[in-house]
């Protein structure tokens, strides 16, 4: 536990001591802010729904950009050899890095509360979908982060890590968009596996444990895979 905490602190510091965190947050807010404000006044509704449904799209390329460095860089510079020869478990390293990336993502998401406040001041904001949407964003974000960290653990090249992460996330995102081409027997399975399907249900304000369990289990699965991939040096 102490190890996870040390690695977490170190990772978070390295995000905020370098331009990474600031660029990530700025660009994220630029995109989401544009989507929030561009039709907010046109629609004349006090809702953050559009912004919240666009953010998962931004996440597809944004999250692997946060995580691409996490393990690939350590492999490239050789520092991974230091880390894994210290009295730490491989999984501690993965978890420390995961929670640091999650913290950065949550900070970025929290900044968008500005939109919520704006909408709330201008009209009567519907609390349920807003809360559900934010919960969904955090769960969705952590799933993508875990996938991104797994991608980063498979290579020592950050660009490759980004592309692998992007590809996997994109597939999970697209699963429920291609249902019409699929045989009917597959539809419900694919729908269940789709990250966006579960997000949409949360963003409607329906907080269903099935959705939460889906995200948590996919996150855990990706993190375990990342741990295994880090251990692959021993095979």
């Amino acid at each position: 536990m102490r190890n996870i905490c040390s690695i977490y602190k170190k990772e978070l510091n390295s995000y905020f001591n370098s331009p990474v965190a600031y660029i990530v947050i700025t660009v994220f807010l630029l995109f989401s802010g544009w989507f929030f404000s561009s039709n907010f006044f046109l629609m004349g509704q006090a809702t953050v729904r559009t912004a919240l449904t666009v953010i998962p799209l931004i996440f597809i390329f944004f999250v692997p950009a946060i995580t691409m460095r996490s393990i690939a860089e350590e492999k490239k510079s050789g520092t991974i050899e230091l880390l894994v020869t210290m009295p730490t478990r491989d999984m501690d390293i993965i978890l420390g890095k995961f929670f640091a990336a999650l913290t950065l993502l949550i900070i970025a998401i929290l900044f968008t509360l500005g939109y919520v406040i704006t909408a709330g001041l201008l009209g009567n904001l519907d609390g349920g979908p807003t809360f559900g949407g934010y919960l969904g964003l955090i769960l969705l974000g952590s799933t993508y982060l875990a996938i991104g960290i797994f991608a980063s653990s498979t290579t020592e090249n950050q660009i490759v890590a980004f592309i692998i992460g992007f590809a996997i996330i994109f597939v999970f995102f697209m699963l429920d968009k291609v249902l019409i081409f699929m045989p009917t027997s597959m539809v419900s399975i694919l729908e269940y596996l789709s990250t966006d399907y579960h997000f949409n249900s949360l963003a409607r304000g329906v907080i269903d444990t099935r959705d939460i369990i889906y995200y948590l289990s996919l996150t855990a699965f990706a993190l375990v895979l990342a741990g295994r991939s880090l251990e692959s040096r021993k095979w």
């Binding site: 190890n3 050899e81 230091l82 894994v84 020869t85 210290m86």
Partner: protein, 309 residues
Amino acid sequence: MIDVKNLSKSYGETLAVDNISFEVQKGEILGFLGPNGAGKTTTMKILTCFMPPTSGDVTIDGLPIWQDSLEIRQKIGYLPEQNPLYHDMSVLDYLRFVAELRRIPKESVKSRIKYIVEVCGLKEVITRIIGELSKGYRQRVGLAQAMIHDPQILILDEPTSGLDPNQIVEIRNLIRELGKEKTVILSTHILSEVQATCNRAIIVNEGEIVADGALADLQSTFHGLDKINLEIKAPENGCAEKLRAIDYVKQVTEKEAADELHQYVVEVEKGHDLREQIFDLSVREGWKLLELHQESTSLEDVFRQLTRG
């Protein structure tokens, strides 16, 4: 303390370490010598629990390395080859980070860092970012990192690479000092380093141990030929012939000849000191002796003899 038995490691088809066995006692400074690609780094990576061997056993303090990995890793300080560091951290942050991972109790972290900074001469750069430091300072940070938790075993992969001569002397002194109470294994291809710091050397070549023993033993076991370097001033050219006529002389090679100056290397069978005979010969022949000195087999010769094809 460290017991390696029949250790082998192969990467796919290539065999990097081939069935090596050795033991290291407490208080020993072991030099791990070998040409590039001999398997030194691979062996070290196995000892530090970075990766498992393909076959063979390693026990440290009687504990098998793969079962009590965390326990063992805590006992080892490791400076990997190339000395990887986090270039975006300051020296102090980095040492604090390592101290935490090394499970140094919170209350003694400060005093340990203070001590190690003192020992490694890092005081002036403590707040600097590691990426901005010179190579020598980075090497010291790497050493500080390896020693911060006062480990019983230090494994150093080319500890003095990139240091200037003064620093090299300092680091060697430090290693010798540490070696009094701890076990140190250092790998290097710099032979003088082994001579200056180690009391025992293992020479590996192509994944196998070709020699293992105290330095003095190694030098006497692998006797080759003693060499006498000779410079004389003589009018004639037939000196080499006359030198060859002395008993036990194996070979005489002329290194340089200019006017009347001749330089020879006389190779003599081990254990015979021919300097007197050579002196007498020059007196008889009326040569003027400018230089006469004998070299015994150096570790370098042993090394070359053992590791060349």
